[in-house]
């Protein structure tokens, strides 16, 4: 009997070694942790429960039958993050380079199915050379099985991908369909075709880092939502993100004890808006001063910086924030910022996370590059996302809300629940100068008259009261009381219930 029991331990020992000590050392030498070490850092201590530790591949081609390591290059299971359940898989680069076989894919699919059934997020730690070539089409089929589950799980449970090594070819499409992708600087990359193929086909010379490193994907392509210095930091920050997210689409966002006065007054916000309407200011300061404990988890910090997206808490509960950033491109909407914000709004709406929108938007960015790039359809994504969202929506207009961009930014007309404005707000079709030059075209040659018209227009329209008279603004609030007003607004919306008409699904302008 004892022998039988110890046989299990022996097998476990063997499985835990993955590709062996030599490969573990090589992994460390690259500045990377092993698949199991990563799980240790991601989960609460001793909370990991493993599935399929002894799964091995069934390939018999190319001599593969001689090497059948337990686990087959991926570790799967569940555990807790601060006591809340998550499912996860972690690819083991020390076993066949983490390559995906039929059985490897089946392990991933198993935990994804369970995650959907039991209502818990899926976190995938990617470190894989790609398809297991020896298995051919079986490996491709495996990918597709995972993809299909990514699609099914989308909007049901949060899905997070952490790229901690190579992720190339078809493999990229699983992370691409998850809610968030995080990368590790210098040790991870993602691309559909690698530098060698690029060289052959297009004659471009490019390194893997330039083609698909963390910097590329966080700054240029927007494929990734964030990048971290190393594995340890990345996993600690993923834990921090999970603290913000609900476990599934049937649950309210999490609440935790907070140490911050919901009625906290911030007098310094009264001077946030500069005297000169063309002078920028940092919208992040407002976010930090509104948030519980000044804590803001920014998503896509390095991309389309003219809009800010991320999570804060108000009275301990998660709130998604979308805010125009006047320090970059005057905070205007353009193709990139619309796409970035639209995706974020839709994530929040999927998972019942209330949305706070902070508005200072002079309009859409003009120009051929924008129009040729399809800013109409991309801008419409954000409009669509706000319009379809049924979660509590609170909006604060701090300064400019001009033209179509006013409508887009969670206006009252898009079923905004609370639409507040600071006294410094200007809600108008456009800036005073542009508007007068159209209305008073006849006086264009007379600079004095135009100046007079501009002054008139500013008096009449460069304020929140015209909109407030019509009820488009529910209340004009003092900047210093923003946290209190916004907190109370969301508190009053805890019971909000709003449904869109039945449809198979909508047809957002992709």
């Amino acid at each position: 009997m004892k022998d039988i029991l110890s046989e299990l331990e022996n097998r476990r020992q063997d499985a835990r070694l993955g590709g062996g000590q030599r490969r573990i050392d090589a992994q460390h030498a690259r500045g990377k942790l092993t698949a199991r070490e990563r799980i240790e850092l991601l989960l609460d201590e001793d909370s990991f429960e493993e599935f399929d530790m002894f799964v091995a591949h069934r390939c018999t081609d190319f001599g593969m039958e001689k090497q059948r390591p337990a686990g087959d290059g991926v570790i799967t299971g569940w555990g807790t993050i601060n006591g809340r359940m998550v499912y996860l898989y972690s690819q083991d680069f020390t076993v066949f380079g983490g390559s995906l076989s039929e059985t490897h894919a089946q392990k991933i699919c198993k935990i994804m199915d369970m995650a959907m059934q039991n209502g818990a997020p899926v976190i995938g730690i990617n470190d894989s050379g790609g398809a297991r070539i020896q298995e051919g089409v079986a490996s491709l089929a495996g990918y597709a099985e995972v993809f299909q589950r990514n699609v099914m799980a989308s909007g049901v449970v949060p899905q997070i991908s952490v790229i901690m090594g190579p992720c190339a070819g078809g493999a990229v499409y699983s992370p691409a369909m998850t809610d968030f992708i995080f990368m590790v600087k210098d040790t991870s990359y993602m691309f559909v075709t690698g530098p060698d193929v690029v060289k052959t086909v297009t004659n471009e010379t490019v390194t893997a880092e330039e083609l698909g490193g963390a910097s590329t994907h966080t700054k240029k392509s927007s494929v990734a939502d964030g990048a971290f210095e190393n594995d340890v930091e990345a996993l600690a920050e993923v834990r921090r993100l999970v603290d913000f997210l609900p476990l599934n689409n049937r649950e309210k966002p999490p609440v935790r004890p907070f140490f911050d006065e919901p009625g906290r007054i911030e007098d310094s916000l009264d001077t946030l808006i500069p005297d000169n309407p063309n002078t920028p200011y940092d919208m992040k300061e407002l976010i930090h001063k509104v948030a519980d404990e000044g804590d803001f988890y920014e998503i896509q910090e390095d991309f389309a910086k003219n809009i800010l997206t991320g999570f804060i808490r108000l009275e301990g509960q998660t709130v998604g924030v979308v805010a125009n950033q006047p320090t970059v491109l005057a905070g205007c909407l353009d193709i990139d910022s619309s796409r970035k914000a639209a995706r974020f709004v839709r994530f929040c709406d999927c998972f019942e996370i209330p949305i706070l929108t902070l508005v200072d938007v002079p309009g859409f960015l003009p120009g051929t590059s924008q129009e040729y790039g399809g800013v109409i359809k991309h801008g419409a994504k954000l409009l669509f996302a706000y319009g379809e969202a049924t979660v509590p929506k609170v909006t604060v207009i701090t300064r400019k809300a001009y033209g179509g961009a006013y409508d887009v930014m969670s206006s009252k007309h898009l079923r905004g629940d609370f639409n507040y404005a600071w006294p410094t707000a200007e809600i108008a079709v456009m800036g005073a100068k542009g508007a007068t030059e159209i209305i008073h075209r006849a006086d264009l040659d007379d600079a004095d008259k135009i100046a007079e018209h501009v002054a008139d227009y500013e008096d009449r329209f460069a304020n929140p009261f015209v909109a407030a008279e019509r009820g488009f603004i529910d209340e004009v609030i003092q900047p210093h009381s923003t946290r209190r007003r916004v907190s109370r607004a969301f508190a009053s919306l805890r019971g909000k219930s709003l449904e869109n008409p039945w449809k198979k699904h909508d047809n957002i302008p992709l």
Partner: protein
């Protein structure tokens, strides 16, 4: 007494004057430029008058505009503060012409003392010892070099109308004399509208000690002890104290009497300051007389109990001094630290922007100690590029110098300033510097002790261990809170452990925490125990802790996976991890910062005045590359090493932000 007084100044000194005036029941009028619409002095004053655009030479120092403000408000007296019009005889004359009292000395005294060349002659005649130098005017750079040679290097080139370090240069050779003459002249012209320069012997190893005098218009004059102002950077005072740890009673008396004699030689009537340079043998030489209220006057007020602003107003009102020399008793010790919007990590370059956070320590007046903060800014206010970068003067008083320093250290730890670069860490470093503690500083202190600039403080091991204990206790509180999130799996909650490893400054501190209701007992791997109590909760940016009965104040910020801790001039990344996490963290590679050695980065937001080189030029180490103007100071950026210019990205007139690339080298 006057009913209404106008303060022809801004910033902390305007606020300071308003306080005394209000105490005396006098109404106050502030003046302000466009940049100061929302400034503190405007909010504090009973009335405020707008006087023009932001640059001081279009607002605060335009006599006509100030006179208009006086007429408009009916102010009967004007306090000029320091700088601006405070030592401008024309202004005093304009006031006299309209029968408005000038809270300062008579025109004649300003004229005689305001010109550094004349003032030295008068001082000599009044029997005050002076530094050798050239009193005449200097025509051009060649003459400047010739005179410098005659006096013998090192020499100091100074703007005749200057003060506060502006228009001042030290030259150690002909080339520097030439260069210094030009830049002093330019700066003087910009700052004071007077480009006259004079040259004098630069005394090495000197101390700057000044005497506060107070005279009335009835021929009475007293001195209120001295102030030690030796800790200066580029002739700009940073730390002052009273009394001086260097003077003995006899020297103090001799200096005081000479100072009063000088003041009376020019019929001085107001508060004034006679600056001396004192060498190691306590020989003192007259430097200049400042015919105004000095920035550092609070330290004198704190040890004498005299409100200098009140005295100035009374004297201006024609009253006789009620204090005789015999009444002046120096009580205890006072220290002033000047908070500058200057980034010590970037060569003290001016930093402008919005004060996103500004929380000075609580002001305290107790038997045991005093904490006083003279400030002109507030949270949410703007530090503009147009004015002096000094934003506050933090002063402490205690019966002894040691206690005053200790109170200052704590006050600095509790002073929160965010949004701009500032010198708080540097001030903390000075307060802990052995030379300062011993009172043995000279005016060369900063240059000698921080020759390569300031890179933060390396705290001693004992202090690091205290911080490690504090961070572990704070981290534990934060982690326990995280486990209280909703949606957790019943009966399978996370249990926060007791074993932790704190990493800071490259050291790992392994420990166990034994927490109870009152605090945490931390036992380090080496057996050392520390007891930490604190009311800190997550999100607090200032942690007020007690470690083994001693106060520890930390500024706490967030970084990915850890804390940013600032204390006593150190700025540290701190990670608190479980032993296993710490073990794995050790496997992570050290990342090196990108190489910027081939780039010339703009060290501060400012305006490019000129670019001295072109693409293809070979530059030598130390060669001037371009000039950036910020806060009215011209900063010449020099080549750090020999190289060839491969690209120039900026040209004269460009407005640049911090770290913008000005030029690149091959």
């Amino acid at each position: 007494m006057f009913n209404k007084i106008l303060i022809a100044n801004r910033g902390e000194i305007a606020c300071r004057v308003i306080k005394s005036a209000r105490k005396m029941g006098i109404q106050t009028v502030a003046i302000y430029s466009d940049a100061d619409r929302q400034a503190l002095h405007v909010q504090m004053a009973d009335e405020a008058v707008h006087i023009g655009p932001p640059p001081a030479n279009q607002s605060y120092i335009v006599i006509d505009k100030v006179m208009d403000a006086i007429r408009k408000t009916g102010a009967q007296a004007v306090h000029p503060g320091y700088g601006f019009l405070s030592e401008n005889a024309k202004f005093a004359e304009a006031l006299a012409a309209e029968g408005v009292a000038f809270v300062g000395p008579p025109v004649g005294a300003i004229e005689k003392m305001g010109d550094k060349i004349t003032s030295k002659k008068i001082a000599k005649e009044a029997g005050v010892s002076t530094v050798p130098g050239h009193m005449g005017l200097i025509a051009d750079a060649d003459e400047a070099v010739k005179i410098s040679k005659e006096i013998g290097y090192p020499v100091m080139l100074k703007a005749s109308a200057g003060g506060g370090g502006k228009g001042m240069r030290i030259a150690w050779n002909d080339e520097e004399a030439r260069e210094g003459f030009q830049s002093s002249k330019n700066e003087a012209a910009n700052s004071f509208g007077d480009d006259r320069i004079f040259i004098e012997k630069f005394i090495t190893q000197p101390r700057h000690i000044e005497i506060q005098v107070l005279c009335d218009s009835h021929g009475n004059g007293i001195y209120l002890g001295e102030r030690e102002c030796s800790i200066q950077r580029r002739q700009q005072k940073v730390v002052e104290e009273a009394p001086s740890p260097f003077l003995d009673e006899a020297t103090r008396k001799a200096m005081g009497e000479q100072a009063v004699a000088l003041a009376q030689a020019v019929d001085y009537a107001s508060a004034g300051t006679v600056e001396f340079i004192v060498d190691g043998d306590k020989n003192f030489y007259f430097l200049e007389m400042n015919t105004r209220l000095q920035v550092e006057h609070p330290v004198t007020e704190l040890i004498t109990g005299v409100d200098l602003v009140e005295q100035m107003i009374r004297v201006a009102n024609g009253e006789k001094l009620t204090i005789a020399q015999a009444d002046v008793k120096l009580n205890g010790w006072s220290i002033e630290n000047r908070l500058y919007a200057e980034d010590p990590y970037r060569g003290f370059l001016p930093s402008i922007g919005r004060l996103t956070r500004y929380r000075p320590p609580f002001e305290v007046v107790e038997e045991s100690h005093v904490v006083r903060n003279d400030t002109g800014v507030y949270e949410g206010g703007e530090i503009s590029m147009y004015y002096d970068p000094m934003i506050a003067k933090l002063c402490t008083w205690a019966p002894t110098r040691g206690e005053a320093i200790e109170h200052m250290r704590n006050a600095l730890d509790g002073f929160e300033v965010e949004g701009i670069g500032h010198n708080l860490p540097f001030l903390s470093a000075v307060m802990d510097h052995p030379i300062f503690i011993a009172g043995e500083m000279t005016t060369a202190f900063i240059e000698e002790q921080y020759p390569d600039g300031f890179e933060g403080v390396e705290l001693p091991a004992e202090a690091l261990q205290r911080i490690a204990a504090a961070c572990a206790a704070m981290h534990r509180v934060a982690e326990i809170r995280r486990t209280r999130v909703s949606g957790r799996m019943d009966n399978h909650e996370r249990r926060v452990g007791v074993e932790w490893v704190v990493s800071l400054q490259g050291e790992d501190y392994a420990m166990t925490i034994d927490a109870d209701h009152d605090g945490s007992t931390i036992v380090f791997a080496d057996g050392t125990e520390k007891r930490v109590t604190s009311s800190w909760t997550p999100g607090d940016q200032l942690a007020d802790l007690d470690v083994d009965g001693e106060k520890l104040v930390l500024k706490v910020g967030k970084i990915p996976g850890g804390f940013r801790i600032r204390s006593r001039g150190a700025d540290m990344k701190v990670h608190v991890r479980t032993p296993r996490q710490a073990e794995l963290a050790k496997l992570m590679p050290e990342k090196v910062a990108p190489d910027t050695s081939k780039l010339l980065l703009c060290p501060m937001p400012g305006l490019i005045v000129n670019v001295a080189v072109q693409v293809g030029d070979e530059v030598q180490e130390g060669q001037a590359l371009c000039t950036v103007e910020a806060m009215k100071m011209e900063n010449i950026l020099k080549a750090e090493k020999k190289g060839t210019v491969s690209k120039v990205n900026a040209s004269a007139g460009d407005s640049l932000a911090v770290d913008d690339v000005i030029m690149e080298f091959e």
